[in-house]
């Protein structure tokens, strides 16, 4: 990972610089230009990240209704207490969100990996064409994809149920498979929509597969290793950094899942709260009810949950992610 590498680079460079003790005048000037070049980001980071984050932390201790800003009052930890202990919607929306993530994430990773394996197969003809076809849905704007799926999966007129019906299942109609009305099906329904846009992960996986040295497979073949063995002992470990990358980004993205449920059901949570994802609840509190204080608190809870998951994921990385470049 470049992030990790960069960190170690920075450390060694610092040590090296101290040993040299003094920067030449040219280098110092050079460094000044570095600051000038990165200044757009530095300013933006201060204005649009640090400052709002500090403000957000302060907001979370206020009772602050945007329509009456003058009546904002300091209430200490009340928002936090409410969110963590007294607001069942918070927990419910986390259950909805995490249940969805648990279903969507492994399926998404597996489908992306499977497609990449197929595209990397030495037996596949017309690779470029298939790569384009499998990627194409990923450039369909999310809003259009969501609306299309809301109709393809329509219990009455959608083709998916019609196709399932061909296999003798009574899928069509009121008593059929109701993808958008059955709370237990909702996570699967949304997973379909999500998996349609898995193109980036396919491409990254594919690049990972292409990067596995063929010498590894050759020596495994000499040792008589079969397909499964090669898959488990060579392919998966070699592309594990790619899977890790997709996992981290996928996880962080899923915790903030918003567009699809919002487009289909607004903030109603239909059916039976099954689409009350955490971001939907956050949107409702912060922007529909204009509760700046409670909204900020909910945002910080999202931050800590995302942070916890990221830290845990990075923590497990050394047990299953293989970096061939790691000599240390």
């Amino acid at each position: 990972m470049a992030i990790v590498q960069e960190a170690t680079d920075g450390a060694t460079r610092k040590r090296f610089r101290r040993a040299k003790s003094e920067l030449g005048p040219l280098e110092r000037k050079n460094g000044r230009y570095g600051w000038i070049f990165i200044s757009p980001w530095l300013i933006g980071f201060f204005l649009f990240y640090l400052l709002p984050m500090a403000a957000s932390a302060f907001f979370s201790m206020l009772d602050f209704q945007l329509s009456v800003p003058d009546e904002a009052t300091f209430i200490g930890a009340d928002n936090w207490r409410r969110a963590l202990f007294n607001d069942p919607n918070v927990w419910r929306s986390w259950v909805v969100t995490l249940r969805f993530a648990v279903i969507n994430l492994p399926l998404g990773l597996a489908v992306a990996f499977g497609f990449a394996l197929l595209l990397n197969s030495e037996y596949l003809r017309g690779k470029n064409l298939f790569r384009t076809l499998f990627y194409a849905p990923s450039v369909v704007p999310f809003i259009a994809a969501t609306l299309i799926f809301s109709q393809v999966l329509n219990s009455q007129s959608g083709w998916v149920n019609r196709i399932i019906a061909l296999f003798g299942v009574d899928a069509v109609g009121i008593d059929g498979i109701r993808w958008f009305d059955d709370p237990t099906l909702i996570p699967i329904t949304f997973t379909f929509i999500g998996i349609w846009g898995v193109g980036n992960a396919i491409l990254i996986n594919l690049a990972g597969l292409q990067g596995v040295p063929s010498s590894l497979y050759e020596s495994a073949a000499i040792d008589g290793a079969g397909w499964w063995r090669r898959m488990w002992n060579i392919t998966i470990p070699m592309v594990s950094p790619v899977i890790f990358y997709n996992l981290v980004l996928g996880l962080v993205g899923l915790l903030q899942y918003f567009l699809q449920p919002f487009v289909l059901n607004g903030t109603t949570g239909y059916p039976e709260g099954a689409t009350s994802f955490y971001m939907i609840y956050f949107y409702k509190q912060a922007f529909q009810f204009a509760q700046m204080g409670y909204g900020a608190t909910l945002a910080w809870i999202l931050f800590f949950v995302a942070l916890a998951f990221t830290v845990v994921t990075f923590g497990t990385a050394r047990y299953w992610v293989y970096y061939s470049g790691d000599s240390a």
Partner: protein, 358 residues
């Protein structure tokens, strides 16, 4: 080089090679057929959207696979439905003029001068003849009802102006990280990369309060201005590319007396066109998709909404007209799809760089 042709009996080795070849061919067929089957399932929703967008409202709800109508025939000033009538072992397509319980009168559209033909049998058992008809009118209807030119205009405006801002600022920052040594560079770069996993929600509430305070809500400003301060994805991708450009050219430029900014514009940027194009494409797609920001800032101002928000509201209002929603979705996805097909190579390379090098 042609192998020498000699007459000899096929050896065991030849047979084994032939068998291997056959097996290879068989596997190629099998894998390619699997891929074809997957691709058709994969693209089925697009086909569905295309077909539905060309149906009438009744067809979209009743949903025959294709947009078909019961054919009608105009006979002496009145319209009659056309049926498939079995006559003497063949099937004729005749228009039903006079309905009767046990026998009916038809007219042959190909030979109307022959007049009415009596047919013995129950007309209710007959299949109506269907003809495919595409309701192209859905497109202009959706286009107008949703006020597409306005949505499209704002989306393009947003995409273009933030593309300029985000790409140019990110290029500067990326160059700064790629080429200059300064204190805390490693730490700063890590901070920048960490913003990728920072949920935007954390900054959104106070930003919203602030923009509302200075009167920017209901305008595009809160969505455009922050884009001019670089972002982690773009910086990462451009930096990776800048690192591959050899140093010598910059040194030569420096010897000629060009300052760093001039060197960057005159030497580096022209060489980084592929990476700049990739980043621009990504930004364009991001802007086309951007939803949460436009939603919170523009939900109250219908006149300024982009496609993503406009289509959501349209979906809420016209949910009984699926064919219009599909037509609108189709118009929305055509532009990105066309861009993708033309710029595929650059696009795919860019994704691979961000994903694999990290």
């Amino acid at each position: 080089m042609k192998p020498m042709v000699t007459r000899r009996e096929p050896t065991a080795f030849d047979e084994a090679t032939a068998r291997l070849k056959r097996r290879r061919l068989l596997r190629q067929w099998a894998v390619t057929i699997v891929a074809l089957a997957l691709a058709s399932v994969w693209l089925m929703p697009l086909l569905y959207a295309g077909v539905t967008s060309l149906k009438t409202r009744t067809q979209a709800v009743d949903s025959p696979i294709l947009p078909t109508e019961i054919a009608v025939y105009d006979y002496e000033g009145r319209e009659y439905e056309v049926y498939e009538v079995p006559v003497d072992g063949t099937v004729e397509t005749w228009a039903l003029v006079n309905k009767g319980r046990e026998s009916s009168e038809f007219v042959d559209p190909n030979n109307p001068d022959a007049g009415l033909i009596a047919w013995e049998g129950r007309w209710r058992t007959l299949e109506p003849a269907r003809s495919i008809s595409f309701a192209w009118g859905n497109y202009p209807e959706a286009w107008e009802k949703i006020n597409f030119p306005r949505l499209l205009g704002w989306t393009l405006f947003y995409a273009t102006i933030t593309l300029i801002g985000a790409v140019s600022s990110s290029a500067l920052v990326a160059y700064g990280f790629a080429r200059f040594k300064f204190r805390a560079r490693g730490v700063l770069f890590m901070v920048l990369m960490a913003t990728i996993i920072l949920p935007p929600a954390v900054t959104q509430v106070p930003s919203y309060a602030f923009f509302s305070w200075i009167g920017w809500t209901g305008t595009w400003l809160p969505l455009i201005v922050p884009q001019f301060f670089a972002n982690a994805y773009n910086v990462f991708l451009l930096r990776q590319y800048f690192l591959t450009i050899p140093n010598e050219m910059e040194q030569a430029a420096a010897v000629d007396g060009a300052g760093p900014l001039k060197t960057f514009v005159a030497v580096i940027l022209p060489q980084a066109i592929p990476a700049m194009t990739a980043v621009s494409l990504f930004h364009f797609f991001f802007a086309w998709n951007d939803f949460f920001g436009p939603l919170i800032y523009l939900v109250s101002n219908r006149d300024l909404q982009p496609i993503s928000v406009g289509l959501t509201l349209f979906n809420g209002v016209y949910d009984t007209e699926p064919q219009l929603i599909m037509a609108a979705s189709f118009i929305t996805l055509v532009i990105p799809l066309v861009i993708f097909f033309f710029a595929q190579r650059i696009f795919i390379q860019g994704i691979v760089i961000t994903g694999v090098d990290k």
